[in-house]
Symmetry: C2
């Protein structure tokens, strides 16, 4: 038994294979994206120029919207989207999930910079349902839905419920905004194109460093009036950089490379979740993934689990994950996101690792 | 005489030499900065990681401050600096020049996002003086000084006056913030190190895509308490990108390459301004540059001047500038920033171009 002296990160450096992600987040990610690019191509300047405009047009078309704007971050793009809808209706309230990115990861930028008050729908551990929206008593300008809801393992409503929520919002004059940080990753489960899903929403944000595996950056899409307003706020936020091309070019490169692999990531995620669920004291959330991601919950405290995972690396050469979160009550969890790495691992090596995980958990849990 | 059918931008493509800047703002700027970088080096993640922390430490040391934070833009960094000082004093007023970047180029982000009211000191066409600060009747949290004052050609106060303003602000409990977008460029004129100049200020912003010629990005420096607060606001603004290394690595590369050339750019700017001032109907602002930049004012309307400059390109192969601004009353102007390009041009070719400029202006102006 590992004594815990070697950290998971340290042990991971010796791993032969890692089951999640696209590979190391190192400077080669940029170097690869630019290797075949002609250096004489002009950069963008304050949002203008072929390099940024072409990609915005490409993403607008892919998302089925009239217009799209490239942003340095989703944090900036989404606050701005909500601000535009609040200004339109002159109501500074929006509705979203209690574990929405804006609520838990942005140092309250929405409140501190825009003075917008959120109305939290649903409980922390479940999705927003149509009935939550129908029962809302506050007048809000916008409802934000995140597809999939990342903080609860990447869950999705049925497509029919999504359509019903969209229809209800249109009827009631509530704008619907899509937090599509992982939108590309759910298209296989829904069996819909991104444009079909986006047609249910007034505004859409997508990210390029999750399933796409770029460096940073986001697209905000909607009507031309909406995106023109968003450019003014982008400048106010300090996001209208002299040049965004390092993110634009890499987003475009990895989009082309990986957009066709989302089905594979989804299938791999289901396979891997099934292996986890066969292990003693382990369950995944959701039980059957609906995208490339899920959460693993294990009935073992963080320190003991980390030591166990270090042992699995040294015994099998397989790194299952990069971190462990302590949930208290001797329960731990972590997130798994499938990317290019999973398909590179021989299947029998994966089965070996899970046999080891199951055996060790039985020893630990008795 | 050119009929104006060929634009200055179009004609510039055929120019053999251009007198300003560091060369084309194309994707090669990034490719060059990353060519010798080891791809296996880890990227930064949300402001953490050796690549960003090392550069922040390097710039803190260079600027003589305890701490520094890398920002995607100066717009973001400076709004945040002023917000921190306003929160500290609980006074939502700051003082700056009427042509301050925050006042004219940021879509009123300071007012719209931070609800900070500016007190405009001095007239549009001159620098802020000690007496302007002394006579200010409003209580302000912070005074922002831009060195050099870009919109009036890049002018500087005497160093003694700067010291006096700094001492006055310290005595009165007014924080002093440096808009150092072109700070590196004024160190030769002052004969001071950046750290000496920065010691007069509580907080400092510097940019990496002006004299340094990087892609985008800024550093905000000050006390550790100040920079820690700035990181919270950076996240709120949406500037805490997953990875900023494309800007960090390029800023570092071009800083090392060009920081030692600021004296040369300054000398070249003085030489070039003298050539302009010898021409009929031309004056520069300032008459003798104090940095790598100055403004050229010519007693000729925009269209006629553009046609004349196109002719100079076709006759001499020299492009003097990239644009012309219409000031009304048959006066035009443009900004010149000296970079690596100037020293590459044979001196006799420069003299030929200015002989042609003088002759053509005499013909035009009679």
């Amino acid at each position: 038994m590992n004594t815990g002296k070697i950290s998971l990160a340290e042990a991971g450096k010796q791993a032969e294979y890692v089951l999640g992600g696209h590979g190391p987040r190192n400077l080669e990610v940029l170097k690869e994206a630019f290797r075949e690019v002609d250096g004489s191509l002009g950069g963008d300047a304050y949002g203008k120029g072929k390099v940024i405009e072409d990609f915005q047009d490409k993403m607008a078309a892919y998302l089925g919207k009239e217009s799209a704007v490239f942003f340095p971050s989703g944090t900036m793009a989404q606050q701005i989207a909500l601000r535009i809808w609040c200004d339109e209706k002159q109501v500074k309230k929006v509705a979203y999930h209690p574990l929405c990115h804006l609520e838990i990861h942005e140092e309250d930028g929405l409140k501190e910079l825009h003075h917008i008050e959120p109305v939290l729908l649903a409980d922390k551990d479940r999705l927003i349902r149509l009935e939550d929206v129908e029962r809302m008593t506050e007048d809000v300008s916008c409802l934000l839905l995140e597809l999939p809801q990342r903080e609860i393992g990447g869950q999705l409503p049925d497509y029919g419920e999504l359509e019903a929520i969209s229809a209800y919002c249109r009827e009631k004059g509530i704008r619907l905004h899509l937090d599509g940080a992982r939108l590309f990753e759910v298209t296989p489960y829904y069996g819909k194109t991104a444009a079909e899903i986006c047609s249910l929403f007034d505004s859409v944000y997508v990210s390029f460093y999750k399933g796409i595996g770029g460096i940073s950056g986001a697209i905000l899409a909607g009507s031309p009036d909406f995106t023109e307003r968003s450019k003014v706020w982008k400048r106010r936020h300090g996001g209208d950089l002299f040049s965004l091309y390092p993110y634009v070019v890499s987003a475009d490169y990895y989009f082309d490379r990986r957009i066709g692999r989302m089905e594979q990531y989804y299938e791999d995620a289901k396979e891997l979740a099934a292996l986890y669920n066969e292990c003693h004291g382990v369950s995944t959330r959701p039980a059957v993934p609906v995208s490339n991601m899920f959460h693993v919950h294990i009935q073992l405290g963080k320190e003991r689990l980390e030591a166990l995972l270090v042992d699995i690396i040294s015994e099998t050469g397989i790194q299952l994950n990069h971190y462990v979160k302590d949930n208290g009550d001797s329960e731990s969890s972590y997130e798994v996101s499938i990317g290019d790495m999973y398909a590179k691992v021989p299947k029998e090596r994966i089965r070996d690792a899970f046999r080891a995980l199951d055996r060790k958990l039985k020893e630990e849990l008795g």
